[in-house]
Symmetry: D2
Subunit: 409 residues, 4 copies
């Protein structure tokens, strides 16, 4: 249970920090402005990736700062979940860094699925280009017409017909669907409706140019379309793919999902911690530089108390996330469901709270694009819904707690 | 201290509700979609007012539902602050209604300023067209470069030169500045820098087409530009207006501001209550219609507790707002500063909390444009900064509380 | 919906304030000290009423400040619930005042039961002496062995045998049971187990000297036995009383309870508001008088923000309580269940919060007997459980809220 | 930064758990009842130590479970702060265990002071008997007449006169002062009023039977006198002790205090975590065993959400405490002031919150002595004031946070 960064982590972290300081920090504000100007609004078919992104990716790859999220040492950096955590935190301070290091959601989770569960052919076709950063992928699980917090509500279907699988259903909040390089969807649907609840679903690889894959629109989150990724609504209408596109066997969807979402949630949470640190920095910097009633804002009213409370909240959230990461590494995802759920509640809520206070300290600037606070707020607010809403994760934590008593009794 | 709606209020309220049910509710969702499509993004010079707005305004005027905010019975409806409160609450349920009834901020506050403090000539030139809903106006107080929560920080200047006033300074968050019909700014600046703190500032009427009035940009709030109104940044660079454009005398700015902001804050807060009621309705309706784990969402976990807590918070906020309105009517704005500050803290925070919970109940839809929750959230979040941030109002409440002890001691 | 104090209220309030200032405030601290010394600990059989109490009661009665709680003008002061509210608030500032004015729980509720539901004979035997302040009474509803928040759990039984009723069951938290003058219990039990849920219970008058009424012990609340009243556990073991001791008919227990608890809860809540005002006064007085780091404590950190937040919370709770009182007066208890539940949650929680902050401002003194803060805290904490825990009242508020939708749909 | 329990910790922890299960748990409830009966109320001169305490101490000493808190391997168990933490947590589940293992405050802190800063003669006279558990000691720092949160307020004086030191001043909240075995006070006072702020104070050993040491009273905390320890107010009136009773040199008081309070605060916090775990167990056990509305209480309303939130809060507080302990071990107390302050805020607040919820789940029983919840509440509430109130520790955390910016800027 040693949370100190390993030598490998220290090395990577130092290099990531240096890279971000040299190549990302100086251009990020400009990039965000230009990206908004170039990719304004809902018209995602016109979105483009600004050239600087590919330049930075090339630099990062050349610097060996690439696919750091993947525990496999041949395909990725060979860092454990715990080892990767401080690096994820660091990249969470920037909106660009995750992409630049090829460590952005949902591609990381999709690559993990292909790495752990893909056949050689599947890996060759899709994992290679994804690891190379040449294409983008999406994950299609949430549905607009049902409460997706209860996975048994899922209405999308997968029907085997001969050598083909026929897919039908409506999905939304497929992050990355608007990206010009998006090529692949992992589609989750009901395949074995008579089976036991957790053996009813399957996952299928669907090239996005397959007939019947009909992208309806990109969804804004707090009016932000998040270009060039976007969050899409897509209808699968009699989509036919070869049976070889199935991931593992029919009915294995939940088992794959569980493996996929565990470390991915840790990554999200660590990036939240980094984002919260950045928001706290913005809060303090602003609070020290602006003066009212003869004092820096930070020294007025309860502001210093707030700084203390936020610092304590961030530090506790970080430690809980490191603990969850450590447990995944040592006891596996399944044994760590409780801890994963716990940080999935804690980290986004801490981020939302820190950002809300940082906005307040900025006055009107806080809600504008002059500082990236509403973008950070949106990350936090959306994450309290994505990958399972707070309610589902609280229920998991309570269930595990009560199980201790049933075991006793 | 009778909070029951007067017969006059009951009559107006019933007619407002009927009008909204007949003419606004059926088209509001469509309007919001079309408005976003027509007036997308930051390019405010291309913004237009959808024709339906003027049609609805004409209908409302014809129905006698017009300028209800103005206590004066000849120019407005002659409703006291308390009498108008339930009507403001009702209009707060809609994004369109305040405009349709010519009761939207900041025009209401500006009309009150002109009504109470304008000369006959000023009223004829500006108040007439504003009351007729033919033009829009803005209020220029907040500045980008200083903490505007402390009004003594204000850097904009007003210099009298012969028969002219020369204005310089940068202002932002001037709501309505992007509106195609915006014609008038009320500009607040430092005119008497040697005077006592509350006699240093003045207010001047500035036609927006005066040379030197240079609109820089519209500011997004949570990425929403709020077209066709917008919130603008504008630089006043050697703007010259005749001295007759001065409101009252030099140094009277604060006295006017106090009178202007009191009832206006009540209106904001009452609209918050209405918005909170609407958000709670959306929460409950969604929570009853979606099912997970075999039950409507509303019956899962602590959701019913949340409904109860939100109901109690809304009802308390409403009562406090009615009390502040009553006190303004009976003891004047100055004696009610404490109550005005109290509801200015309470109401937007209650709205923010209700909307946050409503978003959570909606899942992904909650952060999208499919429901108006992020727009309501933005209203709440921005209002915690506008017209004085929470901190300034808390300080006012505490100051009044402590004064009771100094009076004793 | 006029919350302004009526002339009658103003008159009584002024006289109550004058009486308290002249006769109670000067001796209360001494009384509390002497009472603790004289009636220490759990040995309730040795408790005595200090002579000053009867002297003060006689003075209050002589001054016409007596039984102010009773809406009936012949037996009480003829004040409506709303009219009595500010007086209840005022008495809530003191631990002695409610007793001195014969307005203390649970006797007030018991007197109301006898007034509204008692026969002439019952009124003559019990209501007379209670109104005269000669005896004390208790209410036996809560049971130690079941979750009493669900009244259908009640296990105590009432069996009619000829002209007698036979009572069995264990009750606790019977406030006043340790009082030397306690003579009467109102006992609630299951009489008609086959009837509809709300027609199963009855209430019976039980003289405390009836054989089989076996007082087990007094219960401490936060180690405070609250002498000379006390909160008792009492076992009813084959207690036989004449059938004429039945209140109304068999099965009428719930109907009586509902009538009894409504106004009583308002009284509790108004006293909470008064207690909260007193705690806030103690907080501010201490915060102004003690100095640290060169400033009065109140001017350090977020203390002034806290004062503002507490002021806003108290004012909102008061308004909500007045509203509930007004509604009881105009629409009856049954139509006001929602509002009664709402303030029953809000008021004690506000008091607990104010007292907790006041304790913090006092440092170590705050948890000692040097100031009455832990006693006020205990009142608040216990009241969140008594007369229905917060959870039951939140559920009621949510139920009423949802009913609006079922009515619509 | 390895938080996993060392083999030594695992061994001690297993033995402590076994000892507590075998010898303490079976008798604790009885002990608490008998102790309250034997040592009731404020009359501390009659307090006695129940014989079972000395029997248990003898057993613990024989089992080698003795002085586990002391990092020194010859005098104590040689456990680092981090190694001792899980053991302190375990003992925090019981009111008896800390005493039984000779690990109770304030004796532990006093022993540390003597161990680190005492002369051979001082150690021989006082440390020996304390380590043997033969006598008890108190720490006299807080004063009734000033805000002790600001140590520079301290009014007690130490004047050197020849070979003697003359002590004057009033102290309170001296825990253990009522204990029949209390023999020694460590007195802190102003000795060098002209020196730099942190070189003004000294600490002196004062036998409690020295003339002029006048114990005034024991102070209740939430009406609980905490016998047989007690929290005393004591006046030092021209108390004369030999100069050899000085700890280190004149002016070294703060340096000693800092060293004393750091690990002691960790111990307090770890015991809070254990106490919070126990309160959560009581909450869940009660919530599973009582039924209302057809379900165990725990499955009603938001109760499971609360369980989840409390579990997450406890786990985060534990991790933060372990982190602070680790930092003390590796970087010293001075470098860890920030972390010590952070957990000193977090842990007692988490305990207070868990206990408050546990009380609510118990209904009336929760505030009585039938369960130890009000005793745990009092521990939490008092600890938010003792050893520096929350406000002082928040200020420390904020100060350290801001220092990062000053270092940069």
């Amino acid at each position: 249970m040693d949370f100190a960064p390993s030598p490998k982590t220290q090395d990577y972290l130092a290099r990531v920090q240096a890279f971000m300081a040299a190549h990302i920090a100086p251009i990020e504000d400009d990039y965000l402005r230009q990206n908004l100007a170039a990719n304004s609004g809902a018209d995602w078919r016109a979105w483009q990736v600004l050239p600087v992104i590919e330049e930075l990716k090339a630099k990062a790859k050349a610097a060996g700062l690439w696919n750091l999220f993947l525990p496999d040492a041949t395909r990725g950096a060979g860092l454990s979940t715990l080892e990767y955590a401080p690096i994820a935190e660091e990249t969470g301070r920037s909106f660009l860094a995750p992409t630049v290091f090829n460590c952005n959601a949902p591609d990381t989770g999709n690559m993990e699925v292909l790495h752990y569960f893909g056949t050689d052919a599947q890996q060759q076709e899709w994992l290679g280009p994804l690891l190379a950063g040449e294409i983008r992928s999406v994950f299609c699980m949430t549905e607009p017409e049902v409460a997706s917090s209860d996975a048994t509500n899922m209405q999308a279907t997968i029907v085997a017909e001969g050598d083909e699988l026929v897919l039908n259903g409506r999905k939304w909040w497929a992050t990355g669907l608007g990206h010009p390089d998006a090529r692949l969807a992992i589609f989750m649907g009901l395949s074995n409706s008579e089976a036991a609840p957790h053996a009813r679903h399957s996952m299928v690889l669907v090239p996005l140019d397959t007939p019947g894959v009909n992208i309806q629109r990109m969804l804004p989150a707090f009016s932000d379309y998040d270009p060039p990724y976007g969050h899409g609504e897509v209808w699968f209408e009699n989509v036919r793919v070869p049976r070889t596109n199935l991931l593992r066997g029919l009915g294995d969807g939940f088992a794959i999902a569980q493996g996929r979402l565990g470390p991915g949630r840790i990554h999200h949470c660590m990036r939240c911690i980094g984002a919260a640190e950045r928001a706290l920095e913005l809060l303090i910097t602003r609070g020290l530089s602006r003066v009212a009633f003869g004092k820096p804002l930070l020294h007025l009213g309860g502001n210093l108390d707030r700084v203390a409370d936020l610092r304590m909240a961030i530090d506790q959230a970080r430690l809980l996330t490191l603990y969850a990461a450590w447990k995944i590494d040592h006891q596996g995802v399944k044994a760590s469901m409780n801890e994963i759920s716990a940080i999935k509640v804690v980290a986004p809520n801490v981020l939302q709270r820190v950002v809300d206070e940082a906005i307040q300290m900025h006055g009107g600037a806080g809600v504008s694009h002059d500082v990236p606070l509403t973008a950070l707020f949106t990350v936090a607010r959306a994450l309290r819904l994505a990958d399972g809403p707070d309610e589902v994760h609280r229920a998991m934590v309570a269930r595990v707690e009560l199980a201790k008593y049933k075991a006793k009794g």
